[in-house]
Subunit: 477 residues, 2 copies
Amino acid sequence: MSSGDIPASTFRAAAHRVADMIADYFERVGDYPVVPKIRPGDVAQALPAIPPEQPESMDRILDDYQRLVEPNTTHWNHPGFMAYFAITGSKPGVLGEALAAALNANAMVWKTGPAATELELRVCDWLRQMVGLPSEFQGHINDTASIGTLLALAAARHQAPGLDIRRRGMAGRSDLPALTIYASEEAHSSVDKAAVTLGIGTDNVRRLPTDDGFRMIPQALEQAIDEDRRAGRAPIAVVGTAGTTSTTSVDPLRAIGAICRRERLWFHVDAAYAGSAAICPEYRALMEGWEEADSVVLNPHKWLFTPVDCSVLLVRDPDRLKAAFSLVPEYLRTKEAGVTNLMDLGVQLGRRFRALKLWMVIRAFGAEGLRERIRHHGALAREFAERVRAEPGFELCAPVPFSVVCFRATSNASPEEQDRFNERLLDRVNAAGPVFLSHTKLRGRFVLRLAVGNLGTTAAHVETAWRLIREATVGMQ
Amino acid sequence: MSSGDIPASTFRAAAHRVADMIADYFERVGDYPVVPKIRPGDVAQALPAIPPEQPESMDRILDDYQRLVEPNTTHWNHPGFMAYFAITGSKPGVLGEALAAALNANAMVWKTGPAATELELRVCDWLRQMVGLPSEFQGHINDTASIGTLLALAAARHQAPGLDIRRRGMAGRSDLPALTIYASEEAHSSVDKAAVTLGIGTDNVRRLPTDDGFRMIPQALEQAIDEDRRAGRAPIAVVGTAGTTSTTSVDPLRAIGAICRRERLWFHVDAAYAGSAAICPEYRALMEGWEEADSVVLNPHKWLFTPVDCSVLLVRDPDRLKAAFSLVPEYLRTKEAGVTNLMDLGVQLGRRFRALKLWMVIRAFGAEGLRERIRHHGALAREFAERVRAEPGFELCAPVPFSVVCFRATSNASPEEQDRFNERLLDRVNAAGPVFLSHTKLRGRFVLRLAVGNLGTTAAHVETAWRLIREATVGMQ
């Protein structure tokens, strides 16, 4: 009867092969088309329908990886990846992930992961210092900002006075008004998903109008809160965004914070993308007022060169998260006094050792090195924006505070025809292979987005994107 | 101004060093004490309080890892780790994680991760076949069973007819009765956490009594449903457990399924631990009836040798999950028809390429090799149970259907004194270093748990545990 793991010598050889595979991948990723030219089902058809009964050699498995997986991947690590929020999992981060997988530590409580727990708290505090948030904030790592925002809103729901939703729930209660939360129309869909999950309901998410810079209008927030209160509903939280997904606009956080304080609402800041930029003082200035938040979510896996997943939730008073979530069954009780047991801070019991990669990333680049890379991306985006601005037949569609440019081709055609033109333009540019852009809609109009965030992206890649855009535009006329 | 990742040659050298570090770790992990002999704060004190401004060399970072992190870890990969559910992140799984981190693919939609999406669906179907669930089940991977159970219960809540909780929420509604869910008193705490998160409330989780084998009593379930209905509450779901956390008992799934069908309730099976054992027909027989579930959660990161995190949620009708959660903002719209966009199936938008490691684990061991290893663990647990049974002054506290043994030292002392004795016994055994056991409470009494699940665990390790237990017992008398 077989037992045990694969033999030590087999593993050592395979691990060295994988080391070279990864090093080779980083050297050649730019030669791939960013998005593979395959159709849905192509990969599935190449995979056996039934699982193997007998073991296969590591070399064969790694061969299949190189044949089937690597080339059929959308290459988020490609320097021409400029869609969504462009991201990079840097090389030091990859090494951190490999070591974390080898340790396989599950720091649900301190005792099951002392180094993982203490490193997580420390590295989150490094991040807090780097972005200039006050020392009372404590951070911990979740998989995604979707979860971070969910946890913050759950804490907001729990602290609503006298309701005891944790114990009594929300349904079938005559003493419980509808609960409402507030975010701008440009806030991320994770706010709605949190409202769905928490049983608040999408109808009770007030999507507030934005100004000409796509920022929440504080007067609209005040008015919405007032209307809800007068209708007998109970406002519980406001989500301000620092770096919205479409345009990277920053809500007026100072004004929102003041309203939240006055109205006794939880103030959550979704800085999933732009929060990383706050390590540079000039970008931090854009987030003025976020230091008054109750919680801030910030994703090093977006713009701090850390492989997915790594989302940091910084909370002013972690006891409020704990009050909402802590629940310790007997089999998880431990004796250590005064320790943080990370399972107490959220939904998920099991947790990977995600702090390791973030620790390695911060150390390998240094805070100053990280700042320089963020600034470089901002400069590339501004240069691209300048080209768009200077080119007849194109327009910028939003300010460029960080590293994302929203733009479109314009003409005398109807708005609908211009939308269709830009949609076809995007398809053509992306079909070429060297770059990958995405889109959004602003004020109902189809808009292209170019996002810089990859460590490998240089002026030449942005230049290529611009050349492909102009060539495609000419070719379509 | 610095830009770009660390140099290619630096990375290649560091990656090879990490390959050796991991290979070395797997060879020597058994020489560490399972739980490091440190106090809370020891690691934190060794870490700089402020982040480094300047970059540090990879060698220095890796040196610090070896000095500060590795020795201060609770070694889940230690063959003497027999606490909680003992787990192993096998070597092929570690390589899968390293490659996934290098690709950094975020398959929120098919287009952003074609290979990741299709491999995930395929490898989950392999798993479905291996455990013998019907072909209508579709699986996808979440980080934890806490999330899998949350998603299943959210789908149950959403399908409650006419309520439209997704849109309208649960608070402030006169048309909405209290919603109730059902699980045994031995079910996992994640059921309560899901009830907290979803706004159902812990008061509305009916923790049903169990029989002498720690299995839910179906009559008690029927009675509780009946009482709730008569009180005007709305039952929505039952969680049956296949492998409870304390004793690995399996609820009478067939009977529970029949009740759920008759009462039109969502039937969720928490098979996070024992589901993996269903790849062996003899263990699958214990789960008879689970094929009638609406959803089954099963963690390859528990007993299928896959590094955390990897939890598979198998759902009979994925459209019901999608109905509860799908929400597509413009910036995530893609054109491919008929594809699965994994973001539609849950809370989290971002998702790691977790399927890669599971694919590599299944291939490297083969279904038959995995069965043999599961059987080996079961045999080791039964041998240990036999020793306990044969030893005067000890007793088994629960049946041993899988690889976990619940036992305790007994005496003529009062129950409270016996509890304290067993608690001290556990501390002594764990303090020795070579093994790590955990505890639970059964019928209010303190009970020790020995769990086998590590690939490296052999008869000699179980023998060591038994020797330490007996020596400690003698030493305490």
